[in-house]
Symmetry: D2
Subunit: 265 residues, 4 copies
């Protein structure tokens, strides 16, 4: 009898049809970050009740745009770039679980199906969006350079409603790329039972972090961020901007090779 | 402490951001079907080992295009149609589980995120694709009517590779819309553990069927179907067409309100 | 020497690569219309100076969504529906030229390249947009019927900025599908010289109308319309809504076979 | 009376709605080129009869992918990057007109409306396509660097039919970025009269070239190129690959500020 292979469905004898390839997954990309403060009660309201607010800066939020290429260990995806390129925009807060402080993604939009599927595996609450981010290029007048004065814009829309617009101007080299998205991630992986109203078939708490970081210099930036709601998304109302902390910009590489289950609920 | 609401992530106090609304889900759409025979060994090769081939016509396959609107019980999605319209193309075979014969979707492509998320809940192996299907309209020369002689085309592409092309010509009214996709569905819902190589965190067998069908007349049709592979999808190689059985066309309405768990593995 | 063929570029020996096929062009589709009044000075401000306002209802505007299939006399496009299906949203006013009253399209967004190319031939000021319109279907709960009480929504976005949202509820059969888009069209076809600042290489006034109409019953509808600006589009600011006149809904078929040059400027 | 402004339609009092901004236009981007030889008779067959083949290498063809940002002198487009980013894939041959040798674009696909509109102004035979090109990035395993051994892939599809796939591996620095697309461009700008079958309303020959080039090092590359036809596009049949000349890769900046009319026909 044939054996079905594949990291994720659909499964076939070769495993070649799988939406997600086997681990590890490699990423190269550009990160545009705007960190801001909201009322900590807003952060509390998007955390499940087994989590607590971070002890310091509990109202800190990071909204991050990322322009990625990604691939498996075969690197084949890179040569059919429709299979490797995607963008994402995501919102990160911090939280405490069993006494340790983590980063946690509470909203995220991506542009491809393989990114959705990887995110579901990892516990990211992924949706599709239309995402744009100014790209640095080394020549000509129609692109910023990654240096002081470089200006970058970014936008996010879903179902043809604009949800976020950001603009940053690089100011000076930075020791970090921000502090909100700097910790291991803590996510819940939850799948409802197929019976209506019957509770969770899968309900667990996991943590994970990247491997083999290969990062460029980080930049601090002056930043503007506008958030909007739509009938289907609560970004402005859930985590409104009280005060900008800072913008950041960094080009990075990272790999991902699995995480750790912390609790079955 | 605020309570998080929503059928699927992201969860918020209102539940309004959830990618998938609460049950029931309602659908209206047009179904273009081509049923064909492949070698039963090909069907066997896309079934997990706890399933068996159907006793009759074990090599029968249905490739189906569907042009849908869908909504929740609020019906709000219908008035922001970017949230309700989508297309799908999917491949159905039959199988036996514990002595009962079921339909089973083995490949499926859709055009929106909410369709992906609903499908993952139901055990469909969903990917994104670009999907087109000729639409019947009541007036003018640029649309077929749903009557004898009406010609409809359909196409499926993923990652800019054409995977399937179909053409049907309606021939005569039919008692059925085909037999391959006519049974309750049997799906496996499987989520890998977050640890690399650690087996399944969720692994179960579920069944489901639609409710409250409101269907139009079914039509038999002369049919052509071409399948293709890409580096990322095995449609032509996994389930090649040996012989066309028939085409079908039907406009339908249906609702979905949950399923039943048959086994935890 | 080979002869280059094709209605529009690119030209080849077969003519098969042409973005636009030879005339006539056939259309089948659904029209959702909202007519409203703006200050006549706003209409005046989007007309070139060789035109005058209409004598009656000079401030009337129609915003129209259309969900089309279109094809050439070969009808081949209908069976590769990626080549025949598109949507458009457009804004029509009326004007006088040399003593005759015409309809005139002042803003228009479409979803495909062949629709852009046809529009440029006809003098429509076409852009790409993302366009949605609720579709009537005959079965199920997830679609309105074309009858009293049927509710339809529509949206338009460009560059991920929402530009217009409409909702209509069919009220009663109507003698007409509105009066603003009911006259022959008057358009300017203008192409700048390739030299910077050197004036027009083509500058002419043309008129045209459809042929062989095959139309369904028209419906009057209660209507809501919201318009928005973006940095790249002036819809709300150019033609703001003072007062809704009425909504309309009609399914139609029509063909187009050329127009008439009224003036070379 | 208000004055209508704008480089291209739609025209408004502010000019802000124009699909194309005023000159000059600035570009920054990455160029991936594959030069090859076809039978010179194939090149002859895509040239109008007032042109002749180039005296040397008359069968040379360049297929080029470009990943662009572009903007006007306001640079505003760069901060709403949905308005500035696009990709194109195009096919260039050489020709003689009145004794001078030029480059000429005979097929081109782009991803945005503003790129289509600029191309129509310049005489490019633009269509929409879905275009991907591996992007170099400075960090991580999921992106090549612009250096020997760097591997880049590219693809083109239109109406969900794959039309071209290329792969190059950078081999060594090069004196040039190829010779086929290295001359001033010669294009025909042609608009049919609005009357069916009545000839050209605009028919002229223009030339143009970029300004203010700011270019990075050019690389020669080993190259593979596969071309395909679809029902709507003749790439493989019109200009089949007999022999690869070379691949090239270069990051560039350039501006455009108008051209010169050579002939009215």
């Amino acid at each position: 009898m044939p054996q079905l292979e594949g990291f994720a469905a659909p499964f076939t004898v070769t495993g070649r049809s799988a939406l997600v390839p086997a681990l590890p997954w490699h990423y190269s990309g550009d990160l545009l970050t705007v960190e801001y403060r909201t009322d900590p009660a807003n952060v509390r309201a998007v955390l499940p009740d087994d989590l607590e607010l971070a002890a310091e800066e509990p109202g800190a939020v990071a909204m991050i745009w990322a322009d990625w290429q990604s691939c498996s260990d075969s690197f084949e995806e890179l040569l059919d770039p429709a299979r490797s390129q995607y963008k994402e925009a995501f919102v990160v807060v911090r939280c405490q679980f069993q006494g340790t402080t983590y980063s946690r993604c509470v909203f995220i939009w991506v542009t491809t199906d393989f990114a959705i599927a990887r995110g579901l595996h990892q516990g990211y609450p992924k949706k599709l969006g239309s995402i744009y981010q100014t790209r640095p290029m080394p020549h000509g007048k129609a692109a910023p350079r990654v240096r002081a004065g470089g200006m970058f814009g970014a936008s996010l829309a879903a179902y043809d409603h604009r949800l976020a617009t950001a603009r940053i101007t690089l100011a000076a080299p930075s020791q970090t790329n921000g502090f909100v998205n700097a910790l291991p991630m803590l996510h819940h992986r939850q799948v409802r039972a197929i019976e209506r109203g019957a509770g969770w078939a899968l309900d667990e708490v996991v943590t994970m972090r990247g491997q083999d970081p290969d990062v460029g210099p980080a930049w601090k930036a002056d930043a503007e961020l506008e958030l909007f709601d739509s009938p289907w998304d609560e970004l402005a109302s859930a985590l409104p901007v009280l005060e900008i902390i800072s913008g950041y910009y960094r080009q990075v590489g990272v790999s991902w090779n699995g995480g750790t289950t912390l609790a079955h609920r």
